[in-house]
Protein backbone atom coordinates (compact mmCIF):
# COMPACT_ATOMS: atom_id res chain seq x y z
CA UNK A 1 0.00 0.00 0.00
CA UNK A 2 1.54 3.31 -1.05
CA UNK A 3 0.87 6.60 0.70
CA UNK A 4 -1.19 9.03 -1.34
CA UNK A 5 -1.08 12.03 1.01
CA UNK A 6 0.90 13.97 -1.63
CA UNK A 7 -2.28 14.07 -3.70
CA UNK A 8 -4.32 15.61 -0.88
CA UNK A 9 -3.70 19.28 -1.77
CA UNK A 10 -4.59 18.56 -5.41
CA UNK A 11 -7.76 16.79 -4.30
CA UNK A 12 -8.78 19.71 -2.07
CA UNK A 13 -8.15 22.28 -4.83
CA UNK A 14 -10.05 20.15 -7.34
CA UNK A 15 -13.01 19.81 -4.98
CA UNK A 16 -13.09 23.53 -4.27
CA UNK A 17 -12.99 24.16 -8.01
CA UNK A 18 -15.97 21.90 -8.54
CA UNK A 19 -17.93 23.63 -5.80
CA UNK A 20 -17.24 26.90 -7.59
CA UNK A 21 -18.40 25.37 -10.87
CA UNK A 22 -21.78 24.24 -9.56
CA UNK A 23 -24.32 26.75 -10.76
CA UNK A 24 -26.79 28.31 -8.38
CA UNK A 25 -30.28 27.09 -9.10
CA UNK A 26 -33.47 28.80 -8.28
CA UNK A 27 -36.09 26.81 -6.39
CA UNK A 28 -38.43 26.84 -9.41
CA UNK A 29 -35.94 25.36 -11.85
CA UNK A 30 -36.65 21.64 -12.41
CA UNK A 31 -34.14 19.28 -10.85
CA UNK A 32 -31.98 17.10 -13.08
CA UNK A 33 -30.50 13.64 -12.59
CA UNK A 34 -27.33 12.46 -14.31
CA UNK A 35 -27.26 8.72 -14.97
CA UNK A 36 -23.62 7.65 -15.23
CA UNK A 37 -23.29 4.03 -16.36
CA UNK A 38 -20.13 1.90 -16.61
CA UNK A 39 -20.83 0.83 -20.20
CA UNK A 40 -23.61 0.90 -22.77
CA UNK A 41 -21.89 -1.91 -24.67
CA UNK A 42 -23.84 -4.42 -22.57
CA UNK A 43 -27.64 -4.66 -22.93
CA UNK A 44 -28.03 -5.22 -19.18
CA UNK A 45 -26.57 -1.78 -18.40
CA UNK A 46 -28.57 -0.22 -21.22
CA UNK A 47 -31.69 -1.59 -19.53
CA UNK A 48 -30.51 -0.31 -16.11
CA UNK A 49 -29.99 3.19 -17.54
CA UNK A 50 -33.33 3.14 -19.39
CA UNK A 51 -35.17 2.14 -16.23
CA UNK A 52 -33.49 4.91 -14.23
CA UNK A 53 -34.47 7.41 -16.94
CA UNK A 54 -38.06 6.16 -17.01
CA UNK A 55 -38.39 6.45 -13.23
CA UNK A 56 -36.80 9.91 -13.20
CA UNK A 57 -39.26 11.04 -15.89
CA UNK A 58 -42.18 9.49 -14.01
CA UNK A 59 -41.13 11.44 -10.92
CA UNK A 60 -41.02 14.66 -12.96
CA UNK A 61 -37.28 15.13 -13.49
CA UNK A 62 -35.02 15.65 -16.48
CA UNK A 63 -32.22 13.15 -16.89
CA UNK A 64 -29.33 12.32 -19.17
CA UNK A 65 -27.37 9.09 -19.58
CA UNK A 66 -23.55 9.18 -19.65
CA UNK A 67 -21.57 6.17 -20.91
CA UNK A 68 -18.23 5.66 -19.12
CA UNK A 69 -17.15 2.93 -21.59
CA UNK A 70 -15.63 0.95 -18.70
CA UNK A 71 -13.05 3.71 -18.36
CA UNK A 72 -12.58 5.46 -15.01
CA UNK A 73 -11.00 8.53 -16.64
CA UNK A 74 -14.04 8.89 -18.88
CA UNK A 75 -16.22 8.48 -15.80
CA UNK A 76 -14.33 11.33 -14.11
CA UNK A 77 -15.03 13.56 -17.12
CA UNK A 78 -18.73 12.73 -16.87
CA UNK A 79 -18.78 13.62 -13.19
CA UNK A 80 -17.04 16.93 -13.83
CA UNK A 81 -19.51 17.71 -16.63
CA UNK A 82 -22.51 16.69 -14.56
CA UNK A 83 -21.45 18.83 -11.61
CA UNK A 84 -20.53 21.81 -13.78
CA UNK A 85 -23.79 21.52 -15.74
CA UNK A 86 -25.84 21.76 -12.57
CA UNK A 87 -27.18 18.22 -12.24
CA UNK A 88 -28.73 17.81 -8.80
CA UNK A 89 -28.16 14.08 -8.28
CA UNK A 90 -26.13 11.32 -9.89
CA UNK A 91 -27.52 7.81 -10.33
CA UNK A 92 -24.27 5.97 -10.64
CA UNK A 93 -23.07 2.61 -11.90
CA UNK A 94 -19.31 2.69 -11.14
CA UNK A 95 -16.51 1.37 -13.32
CA UNK A 96 -14.21 0.49 -10.41
CA UNK A 97 -14.84 -0.10 -6.70
CA UNK A 98 -11.71 1.80 -5.67
CA UNK A 99 -11.05 4.02 -8.68
CA UNK A 100 -14.54 5.53 -8.61
CA UNK A 101 -14.36 6.65 -4.97
CA UNK A 102 -12.79 10.00 -5.80
CA UNK A 103 -15.60 10.82 -8.27
CA UNK A 104 -18.25 10.06 -5.66
CA UNK A 105 -16.44 12.13 -3.04
CA UNK A 106 -16.04 15.08 -5.43
CA UNK A 107 -19.75 15.05 -6.26
CA UNK A 108 -20.75 14.79 -2.61
CA UNK A 109 -18.38 17.63 -1.69
CA UNK A 110 -20.01 19.70 -4.43
CA UNK A 111 -23.42 19.08 -2.86
CA UNK A 112 -24.55 16.51 -5.42
CA UNK A 113 -25.83 13.27 -3.86
CA UNK A 114 -24.72 10.01 -5.49
CA UNK A 115 -26.83 6.85 -5.52
CA UNK A 116 -24.88 3.80 -6.66
CA UNK A 117 -26.72 1.17 -8.70
CA UNK A 118 -25.65 -2.48 -9.01
CA UNK A 119 -21.97 -1.81 -8.26
CA UNK A 120 -20.46 -0.45 -5.07
CA UNK A 121 -17.55 1.80 -4.20
CA UNK A 122 -15.26 0.73 -1.36
CA UNK A 123 -15.87 3.71 0.88
CA UNK A 124 -18.58 3.47 3.46
CA UNK A 125 -20.51 6.72 3.47
CA UNK A 126 -19.01 8.23 0.31
CA UNK A 127 -22.21 7.68 -1.65
CA UNK A 128 -25.57 8.75 -0.22
CA UNK A 129 -26.79 5.17 -0.75
CA UNK A 130 -25.66 2.07 -2.64
CA UNK A 131 -28.32 -0.22 -4.13
CA UNK A 132 -26.63 -3.50 -5.00
CA UNK A 133 -27.44 -6.99 -6.13
CA UNK A 134 -26.56 -9.65 -3.56
CA UNK A 135 -24.15 -11.24 -6.00
CA UNK A 136 -22.47 -13.48 -3.43
CA UNK A 137 -25.69 -15.21 -2.41
CA UNK A 138 -26.84 -15.51 -6.01
CA UNK A 139 -23.62 -17.26 -6.94
CA UNK A 140 -23.83 -19.54 -3.92
CA UNK A 141 -27.13 -20.76 -5.35
CA UNK A 142 -25.51 -21.16 -8.77
CA UNK A 143 -22.59 -22.99 -7.16
CA UNK A 144 -24.92 -25.49 -5.46
CA UNK A 145 -26.72 -26.14 -8.74
CA UNK A 146 -23.35 -26.42 -10.52
CA UNK A 147 -22.19 -29.11 -8.07
CA UNK A 148 -25.46 -31.02 -8.38
CA UNK A 149 -25.54 -30.98 -12.19
CA UNK A 150 -21.89 -32.09 -12.44
CA UNK A 151 -22.39 -34.80 -9.77
CA UNK A 152 -19.54 -33.32 -7.70
CA UNK A 153 -16.81 -34.06 -10.27
CA UNK A 154 -15.35 -32.66 -13.49
CA UNK A 155 -13.11 -30.00 -14.99
CA UNK A 156 -14.28 -26.44 -15.34
CA UNK A 157 -13.23 -22.96 -16.41
CA UNK A 158 -14.12 -19.73 -14.65
CA UNK A 159 -14.37 -16.52 -16.67
CA UNK A 160 -14.18 -13.48 -14.41
CA UNK A 161 -15.50 -9.97 -14.93
CA UNK A 162 -13.49 -6.80 -14.39
CA UNK A 163 -10.93 -7.36 -11.65
CA UNK A 164 -11.47 -3.91 -10.13
CA UNK A 165 -15.17 -4.46 -9.58
CA UNK A 166 -16.44 -5.91 -6.28
CA UNK A 167 -19.19 -7.78 -8.14
CA UNK A 168 -16.54 -9.84 -9.91
CA UNK A 169 -15.15 -11.07 -6.61
CA UNK A 170 -18.45 -11.38 -4.77
CA UNK A 171 -19.69 -13.63 -7.56
CA UNK A 172 -16.48 -15.61 -7.75
CA UNK A 173 -16.29 -16.03 -3.97
CA UNK A 174 -19.93 -17.03 -3.70
CA UNK A 175 -19.42 -19.65 -6.38
CA UNK A 176 -16.15 -20.95 -4.90
CA UNK A 177 -17.55 -21.02 -1.37
CA UNK A 178 -19.55 -23.99 -2.63
CA UNK A 179 -17.52 -25.55 -5.43
CA UNK A 180 -14.18 -25.53 -3.59
CA UNK A 181 -15.64 -27.94 -1.02
CA UNK A 182 -15.53 -30.65 -3.71
CA UNK A 183 -11.98 -31.75 -4.55
CA UNK A 184 -13.08 -33.71 -7.62
CA UNK A 185 -14.27 -30.47 -9.23
CA UNK A 186 -11.09 -29.05 -10.73
CA UNK A 187 -10.77 -25.52 -12.06
CA UNK A 188 -8.35 -25.83 -14.99
CA UNK A 189 -8.36 -22.12 -15.91
CA UNK A 190 -9.52 -18.81 -14.44
CA UNK A 191 -9.28 -15.72 -16.62
CA UNK A 192 -10.85 -12.27 -16.86
CA UNK A 193 -12.87 -11.18 -19.88
CA UNK A 194 -13.98 -7.82 -18.43
CA UNK A 195 -17.70 -8.72 -18.55
CA UNK A 196 -17.41 -8.55 -22.37
CA UNK A 197 -19.02 -11.08 -24.72
CA UNK A 198 -16.37 -10.97 -27.46
CA UNK A 199 -13.49 -11.11 -24.99
CA UNK A 200 -15.09 -14.12 -23.29
CA UNK A 201 -15.35 -15.89 -26.63
CA UNK A 202 -11.68 -15.22 -27.36
CA UNK A 203 -10.60 -16.20 -23.84
CA UNK A 204 -12.45 -19.53 -23.95
CA UNK A 205 -11.26 -20.29 -27.50
CA UNK A 206 -7.72 -19.84 -26.25
CA UNK A 207 -8.31 -21.96 -23.11
CA UNK A 208 -9.87 -24.76 -25.17
CA UNK A 209 -6.58 -25.11 -27.09
CA UNK A 210 -4.87 -26.21 -23.88
CA UNK A 211 -7.90 -27.73 -22.08
CA UNK A 212 -10.09 -29.43 -24.68
CA UNK A 213 -11.91 -31.77 -22.27
CA UNK A 214 -13.72 -29.45 -19.88
CA UNK A 215 -17.20 -30.17 -18.51
CA UNK A 216 -18.45 -26.72 -17.53
CA UNK A 217 -17.85 -22.97 -17.67
CA UNK A 218 -18.90 -20.54 -14.97
CA UNK A 219 -19.10 -16.93 -16.17
CA UNK A 220 -19.36 -13.81 -14.03
CA UNK A 221 -22.09 -12.37 -16.22
CA UNK A 222 -24.49 -13.37 -19.00
CA UNK A 223 -22.73 -11.48 -21.76
CA UNK A 224 -19.63 -13.62 -21.10
CA UNK A 225 -21.79 -16.74 -20.85
CA UNK A 226 -23.08 -16.06 -24.36
CA UNK A 227 -19.53 -15.47 -25.59
CA UNK A 228 -18.41 -18.71 -23.95
CA UNK A 229 -21.32 -20.57 -25.54
CA UNK A 230 -20.34 -19.20 -28.97
CA UNK A 231 -16.78 -20.46 -28.45
CA UNK A 232 -18.12 -23.90 -27.50
CA UNK A 233 -20.37 -24.02 -30.57
CA UNK A 234 -17.40 -23.12 -32.78
CA UNK A 235 -15.36 -25.90 -31.10
CA UNK A 236 -18.20 -28.44 -31.45
CA UNK A 237 -18.47 -28.82 -27.67
CA UNK A 238 -21.73 -27.01 -26.89
CA UNK A 239 -23.67 -30.23 -26.35
CA UNK A 240 -21.29 -31.54 -23.71
CA UNK A 241 -20.08 -28.45 -21.81
CA UNK A 242 -22.48 -26.82 -19.36
CA UNK A 243 -22.49 -23.00 -19.24
CA UNK A 244 -23.60 -20.96 -16.23
CA UNK A 245 -24.06 -17.19 -16.27
CA UNK A 246 -25.22 -14.38 -14.04
CA UNK A 247 -27.53 -11.39 -14.67
CA UNK A 248 -30.82 -12.59 -16.12
CA UNK A 249 -30.19 -11.00 -19.52
CA UNK A 250 -32.66 -11.56 -22.33
CA UNK A 251 -30.53 -13.80 -24.56
CA UNK A 252 -29.55 -16.05 -21.64
CA UNK A 253 -33.13 -16.40 -20.38
CA UNK A 254 -34.06 -17.50 -23.92
CA UNK A 255 -31.02 -19.80 -24.06
CA UNK A 256 -32.07 -21.49 -20.81
CA UNK A 257 -35.51 -22.06 -22.34
CA UNK A 258 -33.81 -23.52 -25.42
CA UNK A 259 -31.61 -25.78 -23.31
CA UNK A 260 -28.35 -24.08 -24.35
CA UNK A 261 -27.37 -22.44 -21.05
CA UNK A 262 -27.83 -24.23 -17.72
CA UNK A 263 -28.59 -21.40 -15.29
CA UNK A 264 -28.21 -17.77 -14.41
CA UNK A 265 -28.66 -15.54 -11.37
CA UNK A 266 -31.61 -13.23 -11.97
CA UNK A 267 -30.83 -9.68 -10.97
CA UNK A 268 -33.47 -7.02 -10.78
CA UNK A 269 -32.13 -3.88 -12.49
CA UNK A 270 -35.62 -2.38 -12.46
CA UNK A 271 -35.64 -2.51 -8.66
CA UNK A 272 -32.16 -1.02 -8.41
CA UNK A 273 -32.79 1.78 -10.93
CA UNK A 274 -36.20 2.67 -9.52
CA UNK A 275 -34.93 2.65 -5.94
CA UNK A 276 -32.01 4.93 -6.87
CA UNK A 277 -34.29 7.42 -8.65
CA UNK A 278 -36.82 7.29 -5.81
CA UNK A 279 -34.09 7.95 -3.23
CA UNK A 280 -32.92 10.96 -5.30
CA UNK A 281 -36.50 12.25 -5.38
CA UNK A 282 -36.75 11.85 -1.59
CA UNK A 283 -33.42 13.64 -1.20
CA UNK A 284 -34.71 16.61 -3.23
CA UNK A 285 -37.71 16.73 -0.90
CA UNK A 286 -35.50 16.98 2.18
CA UNK A 287 -34.92 13.37 3.26
CA UNK A 288 -31.37 12.75 4.46
CA UNK A 289 -31.55 9.34 6.13
CA UNK A 290 -30.86 6.57 3.63
CA UNK A 291 -29.51 3.05 4.12
CA UNK A 292 -25.84 3.18 3.19
CA UNK A 293 -26.25 -0.18 1.46
CA UNK A 294 -29.42 -1.70 0.11
CA UNK A 295 -28.86 -5.21 -1.27
CA UNK A 296 -31.29 -6.63 -3.81
CA UNK A 297 -31.86 -10.39 -3.70
CA UNK A 298 -30.74 -12.49 -6.68
CA UNK A 299 -32.73 -15.58 -7.68
CA UNK A 300 -31.50 -18.78 -9.32
CA UNK A 301 -33.06 -19.34 -12.73
CA UNK A 302 -32.77 -22.79 -14.29
CA UNK A 303 -34.66 -25.03 -16.65
CA UNK A 304 -37.21 -26.23 -14.12
CA UNK A 305 -38.28 -22.76 -12.95
CA UNK A 306 -37.72 -20.66 -16.08
CA UNK A 307 -41.47 -20.19 -16.53
CA UNK A 308 -41.46 -17.92 -13.44
CA UNK A 309 -39.02 -15.43 -14.98
CA UNK A 310 -38.68 -12.91 -17.78
CA UNK A 311 -35.49 -11.13 -18.86
CA UNK A 312 -34.05 -8.60 -16.38
CA UNK A 313 -36.57 -9.74 -13.76
CA UNK A 314 -39.43 -8.05 -15.60
CA UNK A 315 -42.97 -8.92 -14.59
CA UNK A 316 -44.75 -10.91 -17.29
Amino acid sequence: MKPNHILLPIYILFTLGLIGCKTEQSEEEPKKMAIVVSTLNNPWFVFLAEQAQLKAKELGYESKVFDSQNNTAQETDHFENAIASGYDAILFNPTDADGSIVNVKNATAAGVPVFCMDREVNANGAATSQILSDSYSGCVAIGKYFVETLNKKGKYVEILGMVGDNNTWNRSKGFHSVVDQYPDLKMVAQQSADFDRNKAMEVLESILQAQPDIDAVFCGNDAMAMGAYQALVAAGKAEHVKVFGFDGAEDVVKSIQDGKIMATGMQFPIVMAQTAATFADQYFKGERKFPKKMPVAVELVKRDNIENYAAYGKED
Binding site: K2, A97, Y136, S137, K293, P295, V296, E299
Partner: protein, 215 residues
Protein backbone atom coordinates in the same frame (compact mmCIF):
# COMPACT_ATOMS: atom_id res chain seq x y z
CA UNK B 1 28.31 19.00 -15.23
CA UNK B 2 25.21 21.13 -14.66
CA UNK B 3 23.59 19.49 -17.67
CA UNK B 4 24.38 16.02 -16.34
CA UNK B 5 22.92 16.92 -12.97
CA UNK B 6 19.73 18.22 -14.65
CA UNK B 7 19.41 15.00 -16.63
CA UNK B 8 19.97 12.95 -13.50
CA UNK B 9 17.37 14.97 -11.58
CA UNK B 10 14.93 14.60 -14.49
CA UNK B 11 15.48 10.82 -14.55
CA UNK B 12 14.95 10.59 -10.78
CA UNK B 13 11.64 12.50 -11.09
CA UNK B 14 10.52 10.30 -13.99
CA UNK B 15 11.44 7.16 -12.02
CA UNK B 16 9.58 8.44 -8.95
CA UNK B 17 6.42 9.23 -10.95
CA UNK B 18 6.57 5.93 -12.83
CA UNK B 19 7.05 3.95 -9.61
CA UNK B 20 4.09 5.67 -7.98
CA UNK B 21 1.87 5.28 -11.07
CA UNK B 22 2.15 1.57 -11.77
CA UNK B 23 2.01 -1.53 -9.64
CA UNK B 24 1.47 -5.18 -10.47
CA UNK B 25 -0.58 -7.76 -8.61
CA UNK B 26 -1.39 -11.38 -9.32
CA UNK B 27 -5.02 -11.88 -10.33
CA UNK B 28 -5.70 -14.13 -7.35
CA UNK B 29 -4.29 -11.52 -4.98
CA UNK B 30 -6.93 -9.02 -6.01
CA UNK B 31 -10.03 -9.14 -3.88
CA UNK B 32 -12.72 -6.82 -2.66
CA UNK B 33 -12.36 -7.47 1.07
CA UNK B 34 -10.93 -5.29 3.76
CA UNK B 35 -7.70 -6.64 5.19
CA UNK B 36 -8.55 -5.59 8.74
CA UNK B 37 -11.80 -7.53 9.08
CA UNK B 38 -11.58 -10.90 10.83
CA UNK B 39 -14.62 -12.89 9.70
CA UNK B 40 -13.89 -15.89 11.90
CA UNK B 41 -13.61 -13.82 15.06
CA UNK B 42 -16.80 -11.92 14.26
CA UNK B 43 -18.72 -15.10 13.41
CA UNK B 44 -17.65 -16.89 16.62
CA UNK B 45 -18.73 -13.94 18.77
CA UNK B 46 -21.96 -13.49 16.80
CA UNK B 47 -22.81 -17.17 17.23
CA UNK B 48 -22.61 -17.12 21.00
CA UNK B 49 -23.78 -13.57 21.74
CA UNK B 50 -26.50 -13.01 19.13
CA UNK B 51 -27.52 -16.13 17.23
CA UNK B 52 -27.97 -18.62 20.07
CA UNK B 53 -29.97 -16.19 22.24
CA UNK B 54 -32.17 -15.40 19.20
CA UNK B 55 -33.14 -19.09 18.92
CA UNK B 56 -35.22 -18.70 22.10
CA UNK B 57 -37.61 -16.44 20.17
CA UNK B 58 -37.71 -18.57 17.01
CA UNK B 59 -41.15 -19.93 16.05
CA UNK B 60 -41.89 -23.62 16.46
CA UNK B 61 -41.62 -25.40 13.11
CA UNK B 62 -45.19 -26.70 13.29
CA UNK B 63 -46.51 -23.19 14.03
CA UNK B 64 -44.53 -21.66 11.15
CA UNK B 65 -45.50 -24.31 8.62
CA UNK B 66 -49.17 -24.07 9.57
CA UNK B 67 -49.07 -20.28 9.25
CA UNK B 68 -47.28 -20.45 5.87
CA UNK B 69 -50.06 -22.69 4.63
CA UNK B 70 -52.91 -20.63 6.12
CA UNK B 71 -51.62 -17.08 5.64
CA UNK B 72 -48.37 -16.79 3.72
CA UNK B 73 -48.23 -12.99 3.83
CA UNK B 74 -48.57 -12.91 7.59
CA UNK B 75 -45.94 -15.62 8.02
CA UNK B 76 -43.45 -13.66 5.92
CA UNK B 77 -44.14 -10.30 7.55
CA UNK B 78 -44.07 -11.71 11.09
CA UNK B 79 -41.13 -14.11 10.93
CA UNK B 80 -39.28 -13.45 7.65
CA UNK B 81 -36.02 -11.52 7.82
CA UNK B 82 -33.74 -10.22 5.12
CA UNK B 83 -31.10 -7.60 4.55
CA UNK B 84 -32.21 -7.42 0.91
CA UNK B 85 -35.03 -5.96 -1.12
CA UNK B 86 -36.77 -8.71 -3.03
CA UNK B 87 -38.37 -12.09 -2.71
CA UNK B 88 -35.80 -14.02 -0.67
CA UNK B 89 -36.53 -14.15 3.06
CA UNK B 90 -35.00 -16.12 5.92
CA UNK B 91 -36.63 -17.64 8.99
CA UNK B 92 -35.28 -18.95 12.26
CA UNK B 93 -37.14 -22.09 13.32
CA UNK B 94 -36.97 -24.71 16.06
CA UNK B 95 -38.77 -27.93 16.77
CA UNK B 96 -38.79 -31.64 17.38
CA UNK B 97 -39.44 -34.60 15.11
CA UNK B 98 -38.71 -38.16 14.19
CA UNK B 99 -35.96 -39.16 11.76
CA UNK B 100 -37.56 -40.60 8.62
CA UNK B 101 -34.32 -41.13 6.68
CA UNK B 102 -30.59 -40.44 6.80
CA UNK B 103 -29.30 -39.79 3.28
CA UNK B 104 -26.02 -38.78 1.63
CA UNK B 105 -26.75 -35.04 1.51
CA UNK B 106 -29.58 -34.62 4.00
CA UNK B 107 -31.67 -35.94 6.84
CA UNK B 108 -35.46 -36.02 6.61
CA UNK B 109 -37.41 -35.36 9.80
CA UNK B 110 -41.14 -35.81 10.27
CA UNK B 111 -42.60 -32.79 12.08
CA UNK B 112 -46.12 -32.95 13.51
CA UNK B 113 -48.33 -30.12 12.23
CA UNK B 114 -52.11 -29.54 12.37
CA UNK B 115 -52.46 -31.10 8.93
CA UNK B 116 -50.46 -34.20 9.88
CA UNK B 117 -46.82 -35.21 9.77
CA UNK B 118 -44.76 -33.02 7.44
CA UNK B 119 -41.36 -34.17 6.09
CA UNK B 120 -38.68 -31.48 6.52
CA UNK B 121 -35.11 -31.63 5.28
CA UNK B 122 -32.10 -30.87 7.44
CA UNK B 123 -29.16 -30.03 5.14
CA UNK B 124 -26.02 -31.99 5.96
CA UNK B 125 -24.05 -31.53 2.72
CA UNK B 126 -24.83 -28.12 1.23
CA UNK B 127 -24.23 -25.74 4.12
CA UNK B 128 -23.86 -22.52 2.18
CA UNK B 129 -25.31 -19.07 1.74
CA UNK B 130 -26.60 -16.36 4.03
CA UNK B 131 -29.54 -18.07 5.74
CA UNK B 132 -27.87 -18.43 9.15
CA UNK B 133 -26.39 -14.93 9.00
CA UNK B 134 -29.63 -13.20 8.06
CA UNK B 135 -32.39 -15.22 9.75
CA UNK B 136 -31.87 -13.67 13.18
CA UNK B 137 -32.04 -10.11 11.84
CA UNK B 138 -29.21 -9.25 14.26
CA UNK B 139 -26.68 -7.85 11.76
CA UNK B 140 -26.82 -4.28 10.48
CA UNK B 141 -25.43 -4.01 6.96
CA UNK B 142 -24.47 -0.38 7.59
CA UNK B 143 -21.85 -1.53 10.10
CA UNK B 144 -19.72 -2.93 7.28
CA UNK B 145 -17.37 -1.16 4.90
CA UNK B 146 -18.15 -3.45 1.98
CA UNK B 147 -20.13 -6.54 1.13
CA UNK B 148 -17.11 -8.86 1.11
CA UNK B 149 -16.85 -8.61 4.88
CA UNK B 150 -20.50 -9.61 5.24
CA UNK B 151 -19.95 -12.54 2.90
CA UNK B 152 -17.01 -13.64 5.02
CA UNK B 153 -19.34 -13.82 8.03
CA UNK B 154 -21.64 -16.20 6.15
CA UNK B 155 -18.73 -18.41 5.14
CA UNK B 156 -17.44 -18.60 8.72
CA UNK B 157 -20.87 -19.30 10.24
CA UNK B 158 -21.36 -22.11 7.73
CA UNK B 159 -17.93 -23.48 8.64
CA UNK B 160 -18.92 -23.60 12.32
CA UNK B 161 -21.91 -25.73 11.32
CA UNK B 162 -19.77 -28.07 9.20
CA UNK B 163 -17.06 -28.40 11.84
CA UNK B 164 -18.96 -28.41 15.12
CA UNK B 165 -22.70 -28.85 14.73
CA UNK B 166 -22.97 -31.67 12.22
CA UNK B 167 -20.16 -34.19 12.98
CA UNK B 168 -21.21 -35.27 16.52
CA UNK B 169 -24.85 -35.51 15.45
CA UNK B 170 -24.18 -37.44 12.23
CA UNK B 171 -21.98 -39.89 14.13
CA UNK B 172 -24.99 -41.06 16.17
CA UNK B 173 -28.18 -40.31 14.24
CA UNK B 174 -30.27 -43.11 12.77
CA UNK B 175 -33.75 -43.69 11.38
CA UNK B 176 -36.47 -43.56 14.05
CA UNK B 177 -34.58 -41.25 16.45
CA UNK B 178 -36.55 -38.51 18.17
CA UNK B 179 -34.56 -35.30 17.71
CA UNK B 180 -34.59 -31.59 18.47
CA UNK B 181 -33.43 -29.00 15.96
CA UNK B 182 -32.98 -25.27 15.47
CA UNK B 183 -31.96 -23.67 12.22
CA UNK B 184 -32.51 -21.24 9.38
CA UNK B 185 -34.80 -21.60 6.38
CA UNK B 186 -34.69 -19.70 3.07
CA UNK B 187 -37.96 -19.14 1.20
CA UNK B 188 -38.90 -17.18 -1.92
CA UNK B 189 -41.88 -15.01 -1.05
CA UNK B 190 -43.21 -14.95 -4.61
CA UNK B 191 -42.58 -18.61 -5.46
CA UNK B 192 -42.36 -20.42 -2.08
CA UNK B 193 -41.64 -24.14 -2.24
CA UNK B 194 -43.50 -25.32 0.85
CA UNK B 195 -43.17 -28.98 -0.16
CA UNK B 196 -39.36 -29.10 -0.03
CA UNK B 197 -38.50 -27.00 3.02
CA UNK B 198 -34.80 -27.23 3.91
CA UNK B 199 -33.32 -26.20 7.25
CA UNK B 200 -29.68 -25.21 7.69
CA UNK B 201 -29.00 -26.54 11.21
CA UNK B 202 -27.76 -24.35 14.06
CA UNK B 203 -28.42 -26.80 16.90
CA UNK B 204 -29.12 -30.51 16.67
CA UNK B 205 -29.77 -32.91 19.50
CA UNK B 206 -31.51 -36.03 20.69
CA UNK B 207 -34.49 -35.87 22.96
CA UNK B 208 -32.75 -38.26 25.29
CA UNK B 209 -29.33 -36.59 25.34
CA UNK B 210 -27.61 -33.22 25.44
CA UNK B 211 -27.75 -31.10 22.32
CA UNK B 212 -24.64 -30.84 20.17
CA UNK B 213 -23.53 -27.29 19.85
CA UNK B 214 -20.17 -25.62 19.30
CA UNK B 215 -17.96 -25.20 22.39
Amino acid sequence: MKKAFRYLLFLVIIAFVAYNSVYFKKLDEVNAGTDSFNGRKFATKFWTEKLEPALANAPEAAQLFDLLKANREQAFSRFGKSMSIGNIKYFLVKGTGKIQSVEENRIVILVRTRSGEKPVTIATEYIFGNAVRDASGQIDINDFANSSDLNAISAELNQIIRDKVLPPFLAKVKKGDEVTFSGAVELNQKYPDLVNIEIIPIRLGFNTSLETKPE
